[in-house]
């Protein structure tokens, strides 16, 4: 691994087809060091396919990629030496105990010393709260316990990159919170690339997000940028008084694309979509306040919920922002 390289994952036109079915189409992904990268998309969007391509479990049919600057096809074993992976539905050798599973996993990376390996195993058992189940065979584990063991084995080598496929899918709310805390704590020493359907979690811990739909990347960027909207920022205003004349004047401003109006309890709410962010920041509020018949009680740039962003991209309505 080249420590000076800031890019942990880079794919260029990465694609995977199964016969006539194109599971992943020309993916250009950029994941930076120490980011918590949320990889979103509906079922069948190609998220797991992407992760398996990065791990060398499947081979690309077009394009390629690098992890730590190493080729995902040629250098797969070297890459996996620095990765921790949690599959979507982790399956372990059913007759082995959790502790044995962790010891086996550790020995894929380290040959010794035995005491250090045992200490690392204990550290992971504690981290995921499996102390009282650590010596039971995995075949008796619930889905949540298996998921926690999955998280522990993914971190056993203190990886430079953690790839987590739906890490909190099978967990109860407390387990989910614990996973999020672990992820936040790990940010210091590792990069996390994870997929999930739980958008609240993404909004809470991720700094970068990519949205995949039908095998295509439809959005990628820092979460703040996505939540702020991209090509057409929207400003929210709450107004009192007679706003009709003001509305027509504002609608004619060169940088205003459209105004959505809603009335409630005597107040008028505008969603002003603009084409020039700088001009709007400087002049929009001033233009509205120029009309003395109107009182402004609220003015801010609209922040979207990730759910809205996600829905708009996945439903194909991604032109409005």
């Amino acid at each position: 691994m080249n420590p000076s390289n800031d890019m942990m994952i880079q794919t260029d036109d990465l694609g995977k087809a199964y016969g006539q079915v194109q599971a992943l189409k020309g993916l250009d992904l950029r994941v930076h060091r120490h980011s918590i990268f949320g990889f979103l998309g509906p079922n069948g969007a190609g998220k797991t396919t992407t992760m398996k391509l990065l791990l060398g479990l499947i081979r690309p049919t077009n394009g390629g990629g690098t992890v730590f600057g190493q080729d995902i096809v040629r250098d797969s074993i070297a890459i996996r030496s620095h990765i921790g992976y949690l599959p979507q539905q982790p399956q372990f050798i059913p007759t082995m105990t959790a502790r044995e599973t962790l010891r086996l996993t550790a020995r894929f990376f380290f040959t010794g010393p035995k005491e250090a390996i045992d200490a690392r195993v204990e550290e992971m058992v504690d981290l995921v709260g499996l102390q009282d189940k650590a010596d039971r065979p995995v075949k008796g584990f619930s889905g949540g316990e298996r998921q926690r063991l999955g998280l522990a084995q993914a971190q056993i080598n203190h990886p430079d990159l953690l790839i987590l496929d739906e890490p909190s899918a099978a967990l109860d709310p407390m387990g989910r919170l614990a996973v999020l805390r672990v992820m936040e704590r790990l940010r210091e020493r590792t990069t996390i690339f994870y997929s999930t359907h739980i958008l609240d979690d993404v909004q809470r811990v991720s700094d970068t997000v990519a949205i995949l739909n039908h095998g295509e990347l439809v959005a990628q960027g820092p979460i703040e940028h996505l939540l702020a909207g991209s090509d057409k920022p929207v400003y929210t205003l709450t107004l009192w008084g007679n706003v009709e004349a003001t509305q027509s004047r504002i609608a004619n401003l060169p940088y205003v694309a459209s105004i959505d109006v809603a009335c409630s309890n005597g107040a008028t709410s505008w969603q002003v979509s603009v084409t020039e962010e700088a001009a709007a920041e400087e002049g929009l509020l001033r233009e509205v306040l120029a009309d003395e018949a109107v009182t402004v009680t609220e003015f801010h740039r609209k922040k979207y919920e990730l759910e809205e962003i996600f829905a708009s991209f996945v439903e194909g309505d991604n032109n409005g922002r």
């Binding site: 479990l57 074993i77 030496s81 399956q91 059913p94 007759t95 086996l104 894929f108």
Partner: protein
């Protein structure tokens, strides 16, 4: 917290990365559980139960039948050596098939293989660790142990040691035959994810092959199916129409072919 710098990192070359760890794991599933003595006991009953019957019970039964001709013509040692290497060839091959049919296929179907191969493990290491551990167990428990007990029983009935070298040569042949079916089964578990197909091909090869082999006459000596004739001939130092090493060589070659096909296919499989 233990830092990564405290550890000694695995330093195997890429092509056999993970082999030592996987082999240790596979060996533990054989020798670290009760599996080994269950199999040892089971096959002792099957193989040497038959041997004891042929060596010690059969002569008594023939005498009780009061047919002096039958009793005089029955050579317990020859009969039992023949049976050991004829029936053993089929029975131990069947054992190898049944013991190994779930080794890779089970992990493919459950998803364990995806987890293992997401670690720094080469595909060759995964396959070869299964093969090596199973081969060791099958040779020790099914072939060496049973042959050793049988040799003791035969020598006891013989009233002196049975010729050791031909017996060992035949036992070696038995190991070769058993390993062929082990390699065939592991190869099939790479080529198909359908258990019916796997068992159909391997058992079909074993039992169908015996039938086909009997119809091929001398030509069957160019196939593994003639091991049922070749191995008793080696042990009893009798002759066959063609050299007895011929089916041995063919079987070794086919075993290597199975391993090569499995490694080639496994290298490009997707999980």
């Amino acid at each position: 917290m233990v830092a990564n710098s405290t550890f000694d990192r695995v330093k195997e070359p890429s092509w056999r990365r993970g082999f030592a760890n996987l082999l240790a794991k596979e060996n533990r599933t054989w020798w670290g559980t009760r599996r080994w003595w269950v199999q040892a006991g089971l096959w002792t009953v099957v193989v040497n139960g038959l041997m004891a019957f042929l060596l010690f019970a059969m002569p008594v039964m023939l005498q009780l039948n009061e047919d002096p001709a039958d009793a005089a013509s029955y050579d317990a040692v020859v009969q039992s050596v023949g049976a050991l290497f004829q029936i053993g060839t089929v029975a131990l091959a069947l054992g190898a098939i049944l013991l190994s049919q779930d080794q890779i296929l089970g992990e493919r179907q459950s998803g364990v293989i995806e987890w293992v191969l997401s670690k720094p493990v080469s595909r060759a290491s995964y396959f070869l660790s299964k093969l090596a551990a199973d081969a060791m167990a099958v040779v020790v428990l099914l072939v060496a142990l049973q042959s050793a007990i049988a040799y003791g029983l035969i020598s006891l009935a013989n009233g002196g040691l049975f010729p050791l070298i031909p017996f060992l040569a035949a036992a070696g042949g038995l190991a070769v035959n058993t390993l062929f079916y082990l390699a065939l089964t592991l190869m099939m578990s790479v080529l198909t994810d359908n258990r019916g197909t796997l068992l159909g091909v391997t058992l079909g090869m074993l039992f169908g092959g015996l039938l086909v082999g009997s119809l091929m006459g001398t030509y069957s000596l160019f196939t593994p199916w003639s091991m049922t004739a070749a191995l008793p001939a080696i042990a009893l130092q009798t002759t066959l129409p063609l050299p007895t090493w011929l089916p041995l060589c063919v079987t070794v070659a086919l075993t290597l072919l199975c391993i090569a096909v499995a490694l080639w296919r496994f290298r490009t499989m997707e999980f």
